[in-house]
């Protein structure tokens, strides 16, 4: 089972800071993502067969561990809500402005709840089904857009200073950092031994997909226009016009968004359900699914008044908030484990 999160929003402030070198900041973010995943995997391998929520109390003691665990449950619920909200807002803003947001939110959460009810394997199979479709769709769109592209748009290369580049890296880094979910998934992987290779492969795969989208959009629009569009990828695909016949292909990025977003949000939803069940000491997480679905729907509506607010949050406060949980806390935990020398059973 290979697990890949697909992230297809191009962060405006990455482009706003790094300008034509935005593709470079994704490369750096990929390196950071590998570092984060190494921390998480090493931490998990100290406690074979246990998820993050089971070994947190072992590392920190019963109650502090549970409290941190509940923060992680909140984090996964929040991630799930954010992904859900991103995709629903996109549909509402770009395709169906008349329909209330809550309709899409309810549809989304019913789907997550059902997939989670069926278990992790079903989710992995869904990913297997959608991933080739998504990859081929993105590649085809990239190829179709080549007539609109101008290489001048990403020149001059390496023109950005170091500080803007560092700033532009943070948002993609926090997205690569969502690999923290691995701390919950690892005990359920079929091939325990290959986990390093699999993870880096999955991250690399995500990198390639992001680069296809980013480079495509940058080549078509150039940095200034890209940072001013709300949905650069959608606008980029709208530019495709071959012989006045193949045009208006916006529905295809939407297919990619919705399928990959479903997989990603469901993974977070599953992690939240499993995590809360393990924190309460339950045998089965299924009774918690429906209440969690209600929470996700309500939060999805509540968190942000508008899509602009959502994007501002994602590109400004979110990187620091997410990286605290994704990198700093796992790193501290790993240090505690190494110092105490506990964990090896």
């Amino acid at each position: 089972m290979i697990y890949a999160t697909l992230i297809l929003f191009i962060p405006q402030n990455t482009v706003a800071y790094a300008k034509q070198d935005a593709w470079l900041s994704f490369l750096i973010a990929f390196a950071g993502g590998v570092l984060i995943s190494l921390v998480v995997i090493n931490l998990s391998l100290c406690f074979p067969g246990q998820t993050l929520f089971e070994y947190l109390p072992l590392i920190l003691g019963r109650w502090p561990g549970k409290i941190i665990g509940f923060f992680y449950v909140w984090l996964f619920i929040h991630f799930c809500t954010l992904v859900d909200r991103e995709y629903c807002s996109t549909v509402v803003a770009a395709f169906m402005p008349e329909t209330p947001l809550v309709v899409f939110l309810i549809h989304g959460t019913i789907m997550f709840a059902y997939i989670t009810y069926c278990g992790l394997e079903v989710l992995a199979r869904i990913n297997q089904l959608f991933l080739p479709l998504n990859v081929s769709l993105l590649t085809i769109l990239f190829v179709l857009a080549t007539p609109e592209m101008k290489v001048v748009n990403i020149l001059p290369v390496f023109d950005t200073g170091l500080l803007p580049l560092a700033k532009s890296t943070l948002t993609p880094l926090s997205w690569f950092g969502e690999i923290i979910t691995l701390a919950v998934v690892i005990p359920y992987l079929a091939e325990q031994k290959n986990v390093y290779r699999l993870t880096i492969k999955a991250l690399f795969f995500v990198l390639v997909l992001i680069e296809i989208a980013t480079l495509g959009v940058l080549l078509v629009f150039g940095p200034t226009l890209t940072s001013s569009y709300l949905f650069p990828v959608l606008s980029g695909v709208k530019m495709i016009n071959i012989a006045n016949f193949i045009e208006r292909l916006e529905i295809f990025p939407l297919i990619v968004w919705i399928t990959s977003g479903t997989v990603k949000a469901t993974l977070f939803f599953w992690a939240a359900a499993l995590g809360s069940a393990q924190l309460f000491g339950l045998k089965d997480y299924r009774p918690l699914i429906l209440p969690l679905a209600v929470i996700v729907t309500a939060l999805g509506y509540l968190l942000h008044p508008s899509i602009i607010d959502l994007i501002n949050f994602l590109t400004q406060a979110f990187p620091f908030y997410a990286l605290t949980f994704e990198f700093i806390i796992p790193l501290l935990l790993l240090m505690v484990v190494l110092i105490k020398g506990s964990g090896k059973k």
């Binding site: 209440p291 309500a298 968190l303 590109t315 406060a317």
Partner: protein
């Protein structure tokens, strides 16, 4: 709307609670109740039209200095 929402909650309770009571899994029942209560706490005011403070605001307030540093020019 409030009737629809209550109906949803009733359906959820109807689906989940009887098997839990039958199996005497009280722990599950407590966890279920906690989460359902949280869900009610979040959704009922929304339907009735009250303004709940968004948790986003708290997170934004905590990370405000750093976030301002990251604001695009």
């Amino acid at each position: 709307m409030i009737f629809l929402l209550s109906l949803v909650f009733l359906i959820i309770i109807y689906l989940e609670v009887p098997p839990l009571v039958k199996n005497k899994s009280w722990r599950e029942l407590i966890a279920f109740a906690v989460f359902l209560w949280l869900g009610m706490f979040l959704s009922v005011p929304l339907v009735l039209g009250f303004d709940l403070p968004s948790p986003t605001k708290a997170i934004e307030a905590i990370f405000k200095p750093l976030a301002n540093w990251l604001k695009p020019p």
